[in-house]
Amino acid sequence: MAAAAASGTGTGTGSTGSIAAAASKNNVTSFQRRSPRASSTDSGGSRLVSIAGTRPSVRNGQLLVSTGLPALDQLLGGGLAVGTVLLIEEDKYNIYSPLLFKYFLAEGIISGHTLLVASAKDEPAEILQELPAPLLDDNCKREFDEGVYNHETSESNIKMKIAWRYQLLPKMEAGPVSSSRFGHYYDSSKKIPQELLDASKCHGFFLPEKISSTLNVESCSLTHGYIQLLQFIQKIIYEEGFDGSNPQKKQKNILRIGIQNLGSPLWGDDVCCTENCDNSYSLTKFLYILRGLLRTSLSACIITMPTHLIQNKAIIARITNLSDTVVHLESFIGSERETNPLYKDYHGLIHIRQIPRLNNLICDVSDVKDLAFKLKRKLFTIERLHLPPDLSDTASRSSRQDLAESAKLLGPGCGVMAGGKKHLDF
């Protein structure tokens, strides 16, 4: 029990404990850093080149970058692996997925990575102007600590008395961690300072501007926009040496690619409009070739896709199989869950649909399956969804009845205690 309490207090300590055990089981020095994913001729694995804003995974030495949300990093097993695709299945009204998109890009600016922003709807320059500002450790930390503490102490007092097991469960990181070079917190109410934007290197791809130029590759059942985008990405990777083709470059860097609303009709693809589309392989071929580009270069990509518009379920399954990490956002806006008292603190649910198994036979699947997110005044947090126990004697009958009915509506998707059925009288 003491050991359980010790391992449950901090997410960091808990996870390293299990990872140390796993490493010893494997009997192999799993700490091998791989820089480009296709092993280049000189990667003996021993030369440790540190690139700003990255860290090797403790499980298999895979190079990771932060997604911009430390809570999401933790759920994905430490971060997003370099060379992989993070697919965000958008929420219905596209309110929260642009936030994740912007956090990813902002993290790239803070870490000094090169950005490539592709969109068919918004100008990349405008997207960059709207990136959130990073949370500075000294100024804002005090404000937040008060807010977080009030929230936690009131709950923790209740929990400690009877439901002490809740405290042993790993907590998602909810507060800002001071001066961590991997993963920063962002203030979504403020814009990123202009000097940071000017210091960073960003490439923009705005589809309406590029669509008029001529095709080099013969039409191969890919939509024109996708071909243009692939050529653009390949050109940037090649010219700036992200694939190791330019050995004179001393300082290696990561290319962060962000593609917004891929698959929507604005890209010229009708996969979201009809069930039997003409170019039904356009999007999947694009994803495959994109992944081929990523695997052979030092880059990581975030894609937001309105999968709720895709009529053909088979295509969604294929897209999931072709992506590495898949996260689905489900917001409560407009649904019946908005008024459900169970969800009153949260804005939506977040489902981690897929985590890749890279360089390993198994992957870091988080124990927690029922996760919810909320956008507080400034922070986007991901928390485990659970009902606090209904312990107070003065709880009114009506609220308990609501909870009981809501518990039935909830379904098996959440881990919920059937709270509030009977009032215990002593």
Partner: protein
């Protein structure tokens, strides 16, 4: 290679069946551990392997192979392993205009073609040595995985034709083996995938099926395995797969805090041998 799986299938690296088509199938979970198993198994059995890897890069298989006891780089240098890296080749095909045929040249074509260039690649790779003496045991073709070919514009019939041709060459003519992975997409109404899966199930000698646990997510045990060969009656056993070892627990352990199980069964494996 997992010794327990070898025991279950009654095969050892010394005694390898020949002329067999093995189908690996996964539903709601990731069956790639089976691919790693067979890759390391056949390399240890001193067979010549042609690995068509369409999903992951070479370094991924290499690192996992090292954990399972084989070195893919050494095998490739020796000529025992012919590794076709789909992701890297797709970039080559797409961006550089090449005159000569490429195994993945269907990526450049607008209409659904056939997999003939890929078949010719396999044929060339597994061609026996001209000097007559066999340096390796039987040739093996390993494909990971076939479902991705459907996503790239191939019809199910084209993929079935490809396997048919490969089977004629590799299994019958060269007395080798084929192992291929197909995803099972029961819920997603993917008709092409169902056609492919049913067609291959009919042709194969051995089917290994990895399924997610129906009862839910359990942290430590990854699944259960129910083997039954196509000829004999089934005997069922429960086994789990964790970090490279398969083990046979007598009961499922529940992790701390895992007493609330969601019905999602993503990381668990139930292995069926058919």
């Amino acid at each position: 290679m997992f010794p327990e799986l070898n025991n279950l299938l009654n095969i050892t690296p010394d005694r390898v069946d020949q002329g067999k088509l093995t189908l690996l199938c996964d539903a709601k979970t990731d069956g790639s551990f089976l691919v790693h198993h067979f890759l390391s198994f056949y390399l240890k059995a001193n067979c010549k392997v042609c690995f068509v890897a369409l999903i992951q890069s070479f370094s991924h298989y290499n690192i996992v192979g090292q954990k399972l006891g084989v070195s893919l780089t050494t095998a490739r240098e020796r000529g025992q392993l012919v590794f076709f890296e789909g992701l890297k080749s797709s970039v080559d095909v797409f961006f550089r205009v090449k005159g000569e045929p490429h195994p993945l040249q269907f990526l450049r074509e607008a209409s659904a073609g056939n997999l003939r260039p890929l078949y010719e690649f396999v044929q060339e790779a597994l061609r026996p040595e001209d000097n007559g003496e066999a340096a390796w045991r039987c040739p093996v073709l390993l494909v990971d995985d076939l479902s991705v070919l459907l996503s790239l514009g191939m019809g199910a019939v084209a993929v079935l034709d490809f396997i048919h041709y490969c089977r004629a060459t590799v299994c019958w003519k060269l007395q080798g083996n084929i192992v291929a992975l197909v995803h099972d997409s029961r819920d997603t109404e993917d008709e092409e995938n169902d056609i492919l899966l049913n067609g291959l199930s009919h042709q194969s000698h051995l089917i290994l099926r990895a399924e997610g646990l129906a009862t839910g997510f359990c942290k430590d045990v990854h699944g259960q395995q129910i083997p039954s060969t196509s000829c004999t009656a089934g005997r069922s056993r429960h086994c789990g797969h964790e970090s490279g070892k398969t083990y046979l627990p007598s009961r499922r352990r529940r992790s701390r805090g895992g007493d609330r199980q969601s019905t999602e069964s993503r990381s668990d494996v139930q292995l069926r041998v058919l």
